[in-house]
Amino acid sequence: MNYSGEESTDTELLAGDREDFAQLFDKYARTIYRYAARRVGPDIAEDIVADTFMRAFENRHKFNTSATSALPWLYGIATNLLRRQHRNETRALKAFARNYADPLGSGQVATDDTAEASVSRLDASNTTAQLAQALAALPAKQRDVLLLYAWAELSYAEIATALDISIGTVRSRLNRTRAVLRAAHNEFSTAKSFVIAHGGFGG
């Protein structure tokens, strides 16, 4: 709160002292953490959050005061830090894809499932696996844009601010990711049709 009793803006918090900045931390730390944890897991996410806010504090004078929210800027810092985890993230996604592609560990369908439930569950698992695989295959820059859009729910303009790129670049990167994801989905759909026609996912 500022001295007039109104909620302080992010710009005011960034222009203030350490306690003001701590309020910004209170406001956004969990959000940044959740995003980072989805990408690289909770342990590394803690490092990312700590580093993001430390850097933000050191570079608070660089914040564009015409922006209404500091969140896209913080996402941008976090994304730069996450990029260093690109290989780890890719490895984790690939492992995720492997595990989800065979959720029972043997390729068999649980015996107490109805046939419909089994297919539905495996359908979901394989969609997730396919998605993980597609995400793993995306170049880091495209993955950043996609996940800021889909998980952080930033607008094109906010992504552009976060990553210091033009809106056109955001658009073109998202278009490319759409194409990749659509292809991955189509590939899975084709595979699923084949599997169903030939008697199940097992084996």
Binding site: D47, A50, R84, L131, A150, S155, R178
Partner: protein, 377 residues
């Protein structure tokens, strides 16, 4: 804004993907918040602190001085914001090695700055021990003072054997103990910086002893001196190209090099060898593959730890080091640029002469390839 949506089935899958993550713990949030409200702001020094360490012989100064370099530790220098482990930081530096392009030209231009505490062996009356009493140097009483050196080197890309290199030096003393009168009595002129320009390699035998007990000085007179033959001490493009780029093999090669130079194969010496290679111009000559392997070799040194974050000439670096026998050798790197910025040697634990935490040697440097050097008279 014309924002195209993701196809619904993809958007749905993506929204549901990996949502099962825990909330941050209150303990973590509180700890991090406290750090933000209490940690000092990193200093952004404009002071140029480009220091060369262990480079080609520079035997300027006090004859027989013991080259113990000390910089006071900076307690205000906070732990850096990058929370990753030493090994993770080094792997990051290794990953970024391919962003660094080796240059082309005739000379490696090294800029450095050094602040070294020299122990001058003195008699009881404060006058310097004479040259003919060198055997007594080790046990003699000493007067310690800082020798600040700012210098530049132009070393042929063919190494110091090319004999066409040169070095400029600006020496200036600074009190560590005693008075200016004590310094003068010990034979050290407390006057303004002394500028000299010398050829590389310098003539004359190397003088002095280091608490590192290493062979960082290469005597000019012996073309077959092991340090002169070493790719780590006297690098050339060809020598570096002959080194293995698989980390385990490169580590073994460094160990061999230490043995050939009659140095013990210790953690400190392994780290010091890598640091020295960067400091004597190897940084400008090595391939990305070698650079990558060097950082991975350091990552594999047992006990390598991250210490703090430092700022050298506006260059932010992270100090990573190993402790051994009362000393900690540190290498200061910029993982983003895959660069070694400098090194430090710190006294740890009980030491009769220096307090725990004393930075016993500190240096930083930059190296670039140039096509020419200033004219030498």
């Amino acid at each position: 804004m014309n924002e195209q949506k993701l196809p619904p089935h993809i958007a749905e899958s993506l929204a549901a993907f990996n949502t099962d993550v825990p909330e941050p713990s209150d303990k973590f949030l509180l700890r991090t918040r406290n750090k933000l409200t209490t940690a000092p702001v990193r200093r952004t020094s404009t002071l140029s602190r480009v220091v060369r360490w262990g480079a080609v012989t520079v035997t300027v100064g006090v004859v027989g001085a013991i080259a113990i370099s000390l910089l006071p530790a900076d307690p205000k220098n906070p732990i850096g914001a990058r929370p990753a482990s030493a090994a993770a930081i080094l792997r990051e530096a290794a990953e970024n090695a391919h962003e660094v392009e080796p240059g082309t030209g005739s000379y490696v231009h090294i800029q450095y700055q050094d602040k070294t505490l020299i122990g001058v062996p003195i008699n009881e009356d404060g006058t310097p021990l004479s040259n003919d009493r060198q055997s007594e140097y080790q046990q003699a009483k000493k007067l310690y003072y800082y020798d600040n050196v700012v210098g530049e080197q132009w070393i042929s890309v063919n190494g110091i054997d090319d004999m066409t290199g040169q070095e400029t030096l600006r020496h200036s003393p600074e009190l560590f103990e005693g008075t200016l009168a004590d310094l003068e009595k010990a034979g050290i002129s407390p006057g303004p910086p002394v500028f000299t320009m010398v050829p590389i390699p310098n003539q004359g035998p190397a003088r002095g002893m280091s608490i590192r007990q290493d062979d960082s000085e290469i005597p000019a007179g012996d073309p077959n001196h092991p340090s002169r033959l070493s790719p780590f001490m006297n690098p050339t493009s060809d020598k570096l190209a002959s080194l293995p780029t698989e980390p385990a093999a490169l580590g073994a090669r460094i160990e061999d090099d230490l043995r050939q130079r009659n140095q013990p194969v210790t953690k400190i010496n392994m780290l010091a060898t890598v640091s020295r290679l960067f400091g004597v111009g190897g940084d400008a000559l090595m391939s990305p593959e070698l650079r990558e392997a060097l950082f991975l070799v350091v990552a594999d040194i047992p006990g390598i730890e991250r210490f703090d974050q430092v700022d050298l000439a506006g260059r932010k670096g992270i100090a990573l080091g190993v402790e051994e026998d009362g000393l900690r050798q540190e290498i200061i790197i910029d993982p983003d640029k895959s660069k070694v910025l400098g090194q430090r040697l710190i006294v740890v634990g009980d030491n009769q002469t220096f307090p725990n935490g004393t930075v016993a040697h500190s240096s930083s440097f930059t190296a670039n390839i140039t096509t020419s050097q200033p004219n030498v008279d």
